[in-house]
Symmetry: C2
Subunit: 240 residues, 2 copies
DNA sequence: ACCTGAACACCGTTCAAGT
DNA sequence: ACCTGAACACCGTTCAAGT
């Protein structure tokens, strides 16, 4: 029975929605999304699997809860602390770095964030916490961005984070387990791509952190141009 | 039996890998990824489902084939025609527009492109056709970019396309079918987000095409700065 | 050579029954 | 009130059997 052992120190006490979602996040972190099954998650919690349906509408809703929960970690991150920001540039930088930390902390969960169907059908759903979006729109409009530009910034910023972090996170977790992830048989042959071979060291090198800083700064510069008739805000000293 | 009727004019003749992958792409376009099942795909091809295993290693490998096939549509697109490009800027613009057309033509397939596990473990796998990556690296190095910068451009460009197109494509296909997509019960309430409500018209407005042009141009400007000691290439006239 | 029937181990989900 | 056993309809996959 390889999927037991839910909480480190937590009591073996009653199930509820919070505990189930938290367990699902830890389960995915440990075993990967493809291993998450209602019955296995039940076993992980010391319970029989169908018991979960008493607290959660079903598997799809559970996954939505997982995404929401992980994205909402932002609001508990002391290095983010969005309420006490020093201007919109600082706010967006904290947000970006906080979300990057989350993506790196939950690399198996993050692709789920990108691909779940939308919660509110009319809001393009990238980094899906409505709380997160609301907070960002508030800061941007308070900073003087028009409603239209605030929405445009939201789209640009979240598509940047989505693409960048998805790219960075994929290809991690190579050593997830002993023989798990059963090595899908590829249908194509990898030979015959000389430049891929020659540039291999540059493609696999891990310059992700620096790439991220540079791309983020370029985006913020671009956003600043939307602000009506003000000098570009002074460049901040490097965030942590 | 709602999942029959494979090819418009194609003969009902022998199965092979190509025909199966093409059918899978069309099936996903029509019914969505979540409906794709070996047995339903079999029925779609007028065959019994287990028959597919004679030509395809399994479901996972089939999905890899679907991704590869869709991304490789680029090489058949006459508006792309990457072999006859006029410099790297033109090449990247054609590539970007071609990939956007593909994403919009196969909105149900595109998220798969973003989330399949890597083919070659050392190449960060965004827009996964190795043929595509090889071609791009060749153009960039021929244009004078160092190996290191060519790899950096590949990462920046593909993460841009990944994030942007994933965002644009999600939230399409609302009317996929009559009562399909059984309206997952959300666990949270949508009320209490005043700015989301106020900016709703700006968030749902479809300015995607123009956004895309602007973000692409900004990225290309940024890439041009990597090219050693040359003036920025002249701005091209608006691509189609 | 290629497809099918039957079978296996496993899914998500429901619900009457236990405690 | 909360969990379990049994059941249902459906998965992916294998393989001996049909044609």
């Amino acid at each position: 029975m390889p999927f037991t052992g839910g909480g480190s120190g937590s009591g073996r006490s009653a199930l509820d929605q919070r505990r189930i979602i938290d367990a699902a996040v830890r389960f995915i972190d440990e075993h990967g999304l493809r291993m998450l099954t209602m019955q296995r998650l039940g076993a992980y919690l010391g319970v029989e699997g169908m018991a979960l349906y008493r607290h959660v509408p079903g598997r799809e809703a559970l996954l939505d809860g997982v995404v929401e929960s992980v994205v909402d970690e932002l609001f508990g991150d002391p290095d983010v602390h969005l309420e006490a920001h020093a201007g919109w540039v600082d706010y967006l930088q904290r947000l970006a770095h906080g979300l990057r930390r989350i993506a790196l902390a939950h690399p198996e969960v993050f692709p789920l964030v990108a691909t779940r169907p939308p919660a509110a059908p009319w809001v393009r759903p990238p980094l899906r916490s409505l709380r997160w979006i609301e907070s960002m729109l508030e800061v941007m409009t308070d900073a003087g961005f028009s409603d239209e530009n605030a929405a445009a910034v939201y789209r640009a910023f979240s598509s940047f984070l989505l693409g960048y972090l998805l790219l960075e996170v994929s290809g991690r977790g190579v050593e997830t387990g002993p023989v798990e992830e059963p090595d899908v048989t590829p249908m194509e042959d990898l030979a015959g791509y000389p430049l891929l071979q020659r540039l291999e060291p540059h493609l696999s090198v891990d310059v992700a952190a620096q790439d991220f800083e540079e791309a983020l700064e370029a985006l913020l510069d671009r956003v600043a141009l939307l602000l009506p008739r003000r000098r570009r805000p002074p460049r901040l000293t490097e965030g942590k």
